[in-house]
């Protein structure tokens, strides 16, 4: 039986989060920890959204729920009306992720790593090779398709990871601190590449980051999470003139530090 995802009919679906709550029970103490507390959020198709928040604010839990690895305790997270957790198979080939570390499989060459999601959706091998090769070429790795991950630099490995994510042509592209571990120049290049590819492919892109500069430079919107993923601010970056980006950064910084919206964010 083929598990090939059906062609998307009309672009990526909207993401709707209503009253989302996630509570974990600690194995050692038995205490409950509220990772996400009644989050409401809507993300339109093709939006590029940066989610910022301090460490432990629930960003990663939200990310795991978007991927479908965690189920909500209460509320709902729907993508085009379907749950990424309950309708797990439906989203095969529709959601792709670039992680903080490249997470390449060390026993696979660059080409085989880029092919992985295509194998999972049951694409014909010829087509897999063609498509993975095209994406690797596009990311400047045409000379390294037969190299194993340990033979590549950190930046090159992350390029393979980006090729792997885009190869499947997903509706939703997720990036979890995907460039934070790289040097500034490489991170900047990859960020720009990622962004242009996301826009070009028409995917909805959600980036989780702790770097405000990164959030401001890539996001159409910046969603600021407080403790337990409380929505502190939802900023439409286009409304801010570039000369006021420094003020925007300060206001977000203050929002994060005080766990309360900074009044300057509503001035624009």
């Amino acid at each position: 039986m083929s598990v090939l995802a059906p062609e998307t009919q009309s672009g990526p679906p909207p993401i709707e989060v209503r009253g989302l709550r996630k509570v974990f029970r600690q194995a050692t103490s038995g205490q409950s920890v509220i990772a996400i507390d009644r989050l409401d959020l809507a993300i339109a198709p093709r939006d590029v959204v940066a989610i910022v928040g301090q460490t432990g604010c629930g960003k990663s839990t939200f990310f795991d729920m978007l991927i479908g690895l965690e189920a909500p305790t209460e509320g709902s997270l729907r993508i085009g009306g379907k749950s990424p957790h309950d309708d797990f198979d439906y989203f095969r080939g529709r959601i792709a992720t670039v992680f903080q570390q490249d997470r390449l499989l060390p026993w696979r060459t660059a080409l085989d790593n880029a092919k992985l999601p295509l194998e999972l959706i049951g694409m014909a091998e010829d087509e897999q090779n063609k498509r993975a090769l095209a994406w690797l070429n596009r990311l400047g790795l045409g000379q390294f398709i037969n190299a194993y991950p340990h033979e590549l630099s950190g930046g090159m490995r992350q390029r393979v990871a980006i090729a792997r994510a885009f190869a499947v042509q997903p509706d939703i592209m997720l990036a979890d601190e995907a460039f934070g571990h790289l040097d500034e120049v490489t991170a900047g290049e990859l960020r720009d590449t990622f962004l242009s590819l996301a826009r070009e492919s028409g995917s909805t892109a959600i980036l989780i980051t702790h770097q405000l500069e990164e959030a401001i430079s890539v996001g159409d919107r910046i969603v600021v999470f407080g403790k337990s993923a409380r929505l502190l601010a939802d900023i439409h970056v286009a409304k801010w003139p570039k000369e006021q980006y420094a003020l925007l950064r300060e206001a977000i910084q203050s929002t994060l530090q005080n766990n309360a919206p900074d009044p300057r964010l509503t001035q624009v």
Partner: protein, 257 residues
């Protein structure tokens, strides 16, 4: 300069000079001892000369080697398949793991001799007895090594794989099995050595073919030369199997830095 460029090229074959010298010294010592045995109060049959051992090696029946080899390889393959299948099921089901793991540990603590006695008492067929003993001794080793290796696959890789939504079959075939190949090879190496020793003991009891049986015959005939000859065959067999395994390991794990 990359660290690799400092490395000396590794020669494909190194002449085992030290090994040959130590073997030669031992052979000379043994030959001398065989001549001096009567003067040292040792019965001559206990220390046969090298020529006598060589004659025993020349008289070895290949069919017994083939039979023992077939028993070892067959039982190891069966143990591996059973161990791997159970490990996959235990990885999928925490409940199954919690029930089976203590039982497997208990099985591993049972001495080989006890298994042989159980096999003799329970099963009439010689082949089944030998196969049972080998599988019950080697299977748990494969199982424990495999489940531990599966649980040791980095969470980051498992999460990455899950994010692409594989089927259960794809999850195991594309991630878990390739990830545990190095452990599987280690487990095979341990089990080959174990199986060679266990099969010999198992064949001592009731078998009419195989190296263990021939060792039993040699013991009845007080032929130390024959015991030596068959022991040498066992050791060579073990080295050959390990050599084949190492070649396969090098080929399959060529991705390792």
């Amino acid at each position: 300069m990359a660290p690799d460029e400092y490395r000396e090229p590794v020669p494909s074959f190194t002449f085992p000079r030290q090994t040959l010298v130590s073997l030669l010294v031992f052979a000379v010592f043994w030959e001398a001892l065989s001549h001096l045995a009567p003067y040292l109060g040792i019965p001559p049959f206990a220390v046969p000369g090298l020529l006598k051992i060589a004659r025993s090696i020349a008289a070895i029946t290949p069919v017994d080697i083939v039979v023992t080899l077939a028993r070892v390889v067959g039982a190891l393959l069966a143990s591996f398949v059973i161990g791997l299948a159970l490990a996959m099921a235990m990885y999928r089901s925490e409940k199954l793991h919690n029930y089976l793991h203590p039982m497997v540990r208990i099985l591993m603590a049972v001495p080989v001799v006890s298994w042989i006695l159980f096999a003799v008492l329970w099963f009439p067929g010689v082949e089944f007895r030998i196969g049972f003993v080998l599988v019950v001794v080697c299977g748990p080793v494969f199982l424990i090594d495999t489940i531990d290796a599966m649980r040791g696959v980095p969470r980051e890789l498992r999460q990455m794989m899950q994010s692409f939504r594989p089927t259960t079959y794809q999850f195991f075939v594309k991630l878990m099995l390739p990830a545990i190949v190095p452990t599987i090879f280690t487990s095979w190496k341990v089990n080959i050595s174990l199986a060679i020793r266990v099969v010999t003991i198992a064949e001592l009891v009731g078998a009419v073919t195989g190296i263990g049986h021939q060792l039993s015959v040699a013991q009845e005939l007080f032929s130390v030369a024959d015991v030596f000859a068959w022991t040498i065959v066992l050791v060579v067999l073990l080295f050959l199997l390990e050599g084949l395994l190492s070649r396969a390991e090098k080929r399959l794990l060529r991705w390792r830095p």
